[in-house]
């Protein structure tokens, strides 16, 4: 995990803080954004191994921008974080992770899609 960078895009402040803390605790380098606009700014100035993207953001939906992100950054893994239990997985994302799931499972999935 050392050296691998994750960008978390999550507008819920408490969720963002806790996920960033958990990810940093296991050795990832992490950055956070609260909106798609902030995400674009960070993607334009940095490189990441994984984009963790909330499905519902104040300025748009994560799944709607995933195809464009995939085209621009084909080597970056993309996972959608959702509060919906039935969000279908498209070819443009590597995983759909449900909020409220066991954090240990989330970490396993994150490790899996970054291999």
């Amino acid at each position: 995990m050392s050296g691998r960078r994750i960008l978390l895009v999550e507008d819920d402040e408490a969720n963002r803080l806790l996920l960033l803390t958990i990810l940093a605790d296991v050795g990832y380098e992490t950055e956070g954004a609260a909106t798609l606009a902030e995400m674009q700014s960070r993607l334009n100035s940095g490189s990441y191994d994984l984009l963790l993207l909330d499905a519902h953001l104040p300025d748009g939906r994560g799944p709607d921008v995933a195809p464009e992100i995939r085209r621009r950054f084909p080597d970056m893994a993309i996972a959608i974080l959702t509060g919906e239990s039935r969000l279908p997985q498209s070819a443009d994302v590597d995983a759909v992770l449900t909020k409220g799931s066991d954090p240990a499972f989330l970490l396993e999935e994150i490790e899996r899609i970054m291999r």
Partner: protein, 242 residues
């Protein structure tokens, strides 16, 4: 209430109910996620503690198991029992102007509200009832903000790229920037007794048809709610990108 057509009324109730449920599911999962993640982190901190008495305290481990078990049960319950309802109807190629024009016989305009229809033929691939519901939400939203009456103008047009545009314009006073920024926040409303989901329902319908939903102040005077849907026969997987 503007609606005088019972099937449209029941459709609106179903959409509002599903929108409310979807938002509550989302909020519940967010809150459960926060607690579960915090518990996970704290448990790791305890298990790594230098203080053996604290680290090995059985009741602390029992309580962490309790928290995780309860939250896990709640998450599964949401997945199993609070399931999305499939409201999507059958679509067909139709004239959007005719679909929306049919609303005139399904609405009771309140006294003082001057409802005008400027409907230009425009082809779309939609479920007519669903699109009528979306436009109804926008008309209701406008009417409820104009308690002293005024003009509400419904327009249709085809955009240069083939998308269909449906706008509901008013001559009311401008919406404040604070209200505009929160307009699509679920359950946000400036009208007591209202759920605050009408714009969300309209946006859900727009997104289903690969389109967008915006609310803005018009230059000079009034407001505009603008709903677009993708051109008929376009690739349905080419959804809108915000």
């Amino acid at each position: 209430m503007l609606i005088r057509d019972s099937s449209l009324y029941h459709l609106s109730q179903a959409y509002v109910s599903e929108e409310a449920t979807a938002n509550l599911r989302h909020q519940l999962r967010n809150r459960i996620g926060v607690i579960r993640n915090a518990s996970f982190f704290l448990r790791k901190a305890f298990e790594g503690s230098q203080d053996a008495q604290l680290r090995d305290e059985a009741q602390i481990h029992e309580f962490f198991d309790l928290i995780d078990g309860q939250l896990g049960d709640m998450t599964r319950s949401i997945s199993d029992n609070v399931v999305p309802v499939d409201l999507e109807g059958m679509t067909s190629i139709c004239d959007i102007a005719s679909v929306i024009g049919a609303l005139t016989s399904k609405l009771n305009a309140p006294a003082g509200l001057n409802l005008q229809w400027h409907l230009v033929p425009a082809e779309g691939d939609v479920d007519p009832a669903e699109l009528q519901l979306a436009v109804l939400c926008l008309i209701e939203n406008a009417a409820e903000a104009m308690t002293a009456g005024g003009d509400v103008i419904v327009r249709t047009s085809t955009l240069p790229d083939g998308r269909v545009s449906i706008s509901v314009e008013t001559n009311r006073e401008p919406i404040s920037s604070e209200v505009l920024s929160r307009a699509f926040e679920p359950f946000f409303t400036t009208k007591p007794g209202h759920l605050g989901l009408g714009l969300n329902v309209a946006r859900r319908v727009a997104r289903r048809y690969g389109g967008t939903m915006e609310l803005s102040n018009r230059e000079g005077e009034g407001t505009r709610a603008l709903l677009t849907i993708r051109a008929p026969r376009s690739d349905p997987s080419a959804g809108s990108v915000s």
